[in-house]
Amino acid sequence: MAKTILIVDDSESIREVVNFTLQNAGFEVFAAGNGKEAQTFLDGRTIDLVITDLHMPEMDGIELIKYIRATAGYSRVPILFLTTESQLAKKIEAKDAGATGWIIKPFVPAKLLAAISKVIR
């Protein structure tokens, strides 16, 4: 069965590029525009991987990561966050919050898939 991935980002273009790349790679992809939407989506559903941006309205990435880690049933789900080279402090914060790994923006499809292959297969 195809692995399921939830992409959480407020930028529609990022969501689409991720969606397109991952679907082509054989994943089943769901999308959410911010942490709150992701929360609603996850409620009662299983997911194999969450990819989230850190800066989002309503509920940002760090909060979402903390929420996921604290929620029964999701505490071991791998989470990758999207970040840029310059945001070192944020990276540490996200890791401390419980993220599994990161993807540096901007990225090419191969890089995205390589990062994913480190956490699910």
Binding site: S75, V77, P78, G98, A99, G101, W102, S117, V119, R121
Partner: protein, 682 residues
């Protein structure tokens, strides 16, 4: 697969056998141009055939080897140890390409990369210049930048809490090259202290890769803060191809790799190769080998499918049965002319039978080549210096026996190499020649073929075996057994003398399996061992042929056949003498013989004749009588196997159809005596 391909496969496997033979000889005499020529020719034939019949991979590969030997022919390259090793390995490689059913393709590919690399290494040491086409090959497969790293990955206990799966990282790392992974379980706590999500295991990986250190670091980029990763370069080369590295890379959980040893081996070999532009040429020690090789390659023969031979044997059997019918008819009709024709037909069919038989016989030498190779490879693997000598290799065996005996012999040899022969240091300490010796001897003895494997190793210690057998519950602790009996315990199922299990012979398969396999082909195996002197394991096989010269005898109204080869003498005796004998011992012409009265042993009722025949058969070094009613005469018996229902007995080795259509049972006197001896002793 089409017919041509099949034919090529057969030819190719012949060629590879020839190649191995030539290599073994070349190893003794590295300067011999004729041997190099013949190796070159073999490569060439393999290459050509491969191309014709769609084995392009073989063509491509042998092309490289051919190039290498071409350089030797042109004296631009000298035969070296590594070159011989490569060629031996190549023989195996080509063999596996031939046998590949698709399941091993990846493995073969990997193997080929490494072999190519080794060939390239050799070729790059050759005088360069006018070999443009070799150079391009170099570029295609040359991955000379392979480096071997040691990586130790020890995750912190909490690593899984942020969704990391450490196994995936190990997987990713292993994907970078050729590797060995060792796992350490020792930190796993007992159940009470075990936290479900915590990680307790850690890994050691030895990996040869053309990627750099950063690529390895990259694997662990997400978990820098979640685990210890230690990366060390251990060699500027692929250590997996090193001669003798395998034992150092055996993964044993919780035992770390011996890095120092691995490193020093790699360094040593690298240094050696650097120094190696001079060859390993030894003074010619192999004159006779060459002669032998030349002789062997000049024997010409034809290849016949084994089904055709089986068919021929069947027809010969039928002919002999029919001819027996004719004899019977001629006897009845008292027609002189008919008798003459029947007799000359019998004569011819006897010769035909013998000739047909000789076709199915294969000299043991067929196995010896393989054994030489085995001894050579294994002794190197365990780091012992062992010579192998075969005597009586021309002894011929039925091809089914050759097939059946190969595995047990292989096993015995492995045991000798692994457990029998001591290490050079121990041998020196014991005042022996540091070089161990294994002798395989084959010869005919009466109706048997004897194959004995002798090593001059440490021998078996009866006391130790006894102790082990008691430990394993094979014999009661107070059992009184002789040393000989103790040594025989090695044939008991569940007995394995080696204290450490090695990857060569100690796979839990013991001498009991050897014994079983040998008895499958109706042979017997025995062992003699002298502590400190060595061990001899002897296999005795019946000359199992499907047509035998027999003596047709009768008890009541049933015919039996006793093989002529076991019969010593025949006496006629009064029934009363048998009746009055004590303890089955009869006195004939002043000599006492034990005997078995088959009428009683078989439980046949009826009235025995007043005069009976006692046939003295050879049993080991004794003569034992077998009493029958009367003797009909000599008979060429075509052995037919008995049906499934008769599988639980072994005193009849088969049955034969007589000229008049009745059935005679063929007695295996050895088994008959064994059986009744045991029975009577109980």
């Amino acid at each position: 697969m089409d017919n041509f391909q099949k034919k090529f496969l057969e030819e190719a496997s012949d060629l590879i056998n020839q190649l191995e033979q030539a290599l073994l000889t070349l190893e003794q005499d590295t300067e011999n141009p004729e041997l190099v020529d013949s190796i070159f020719r073999i490569m060439h034939s393999l290459k050509g055939g491969g191309g014709m019949f769609g084995f392009d991979n073989i063509t491509a590969y042998t092309h490289k080897l051919e190039n290498m030997y071409d350089l030797v022919r042109q004296k631009k390259l000298k035969v070296s140890r590594e070159m011989l090793d490569i060629t031996f390995d190549s023989a195996d490689h080509v063999r596996s390409m031939l046998n590949d059913d698709g399941s091993k393709t990846a493995e073969i590919k990997n193997n080929e990369v490494i072999l190519n690399n080794r060939i390239d290494n050799i070729l790059s040491g050759a005088s360069s210049g006018d070999f443009k086409d070799l150079k391009t090959n170099d570029e295609v497969t040359g991955n000379s930048d392979v480096v071997t790293y040691y990586v130790r990955v020890k995750p912190y206990e909490h690593i899984q809490r942020n969704g990391t799966n450490p196994f995936l990282l190990i997987d990713e790392l292993v994907g970078l090259g050729k590797s060995k992974v060792n796992i350490f379980y020792s930190n796993i706590p007992d159940f009470e202290n075990f936290v479900f999500d915590d990680t307790y295991i850690y890994w050691e990986i030895i990996i040869a890769t053309d990627k750099n250190e950063d690529a390895i670091k990259d694997v662990f980029i997400f978990v820098e803060d979640d685990c210890e990763v230690e990366i060390r370069k251990i060699a500027d080369r692929d250590i997996f191809t090193l001669e003798g590295i395998d034992p150092l890379l055996v993964c044993r959980h919780d035992f770390p790799f011996d890095l120092d040893k691995i490193k020093s081996l790699a360094d040593a070999i690298t240094a050696l190769e650097k120094a190696k532009n001079e060859s390993v040429a030894k003074p010619s020690a192999g004159e006779e080998h060459i002669k032998k090789f030349a002789k062997e390659s000049s024997i010409s023969g034809i290849r016949v499918a084994s089904e055709k031979i089986d068919m021929l044997m069947n027809l010969v059997s039928e002919l002999i049965t029919t001819q027996a019918g004719l004899n019977l008819y001629a006897d009845k009709n008292k027609d002189a002319e008919l008798t003459r024709i029947a007799e000359s037909l019998e004569n011819i069919s006897r010769q035909l039978r013998d000739t047909a038989f000789s076709i199915t016989l294969i000299p043991i030498d067929y196995l010896v080549v393989r054994f030489r190779r085995l001894v050579r490879d294994l002794s190197r693997e365990v780091g012992k210096d062992i010579t192998f000598e075969a005597r009586g290799a021309e002894t011929e065996l039925d091809k089914t026996l050759i097939e059946g005996i190969s595995e047990p012999l292989m096993h015995i040899l492995r045991n000798s190499i692994d457990h029998g022969i001591e290490s050079a240091e121990e041998r020196i300490k014991a005042g022996k020649n540091p070089q161990g010796k294994i002798i395989l001897q084959a010869y005919y003895s009466g109706s048997q073929i004897v194959i004995a494997v002798t090593d001059d190793g440490a021998g078996m210690n009866p006391a130790k075996i006894r102790k082990k057998a008691i430990e394993k519950g094979l014999i009661p602790a107070d059992a009184q057994i002789s040393d000989k009996e103790a040594i025989d315990l090695i044939f008991m199922p569940g007995f394995s003398t080696s204290e450490t299990v090695t990857n060569i012979s100690g796979r839990g398969v013991g001498m009991d399996v050897v014994k079983r396999k040998v008895s499958d082909i109706r042979g017997m195996v025995s062992v003699a061992s002298e502590l400190g002197e060595g061990t001899t394991i002897t296999i005795k096989l019946p000359l199992t042929l499907s047509i035998i010269d027999g003596m047709l005898v009768r008890i009541e109204d049933v015919d039996y056949i006793i093989p002529l080869s076991v019969i010593d003498t025949i006496f006629a005796v009064e029934h009363t003498k048998i009746e009055n004998s004590f303890q089955n011992i009869i006195n004939i012409e002043g000599v006492q013989y034990p005997f078995y009265y088959l009428r009683n042993e078989f439980g046949i009722g009826g009235e025995p004749p007043s005069k009976e025949e006692i046939i003295m058969v050879k049993y080991e070094d004794k003569k034992i009588g077998i009493v029958v009613d009367n003797i009909t005469g000599e008979y060429q018996a075509v052995l037919k196997s008995l049906g499934k229902l008769y599988r639980n007995q072994d005193i009849f080795s088969g049955a034969s159809i007589l000229g008049d259509g009745t059935v005679a049972l063929v007695l295996d006197t050895h088994k008959v005596i064994n059986k009744f001896t045991k029975y009577n002793e109980l």
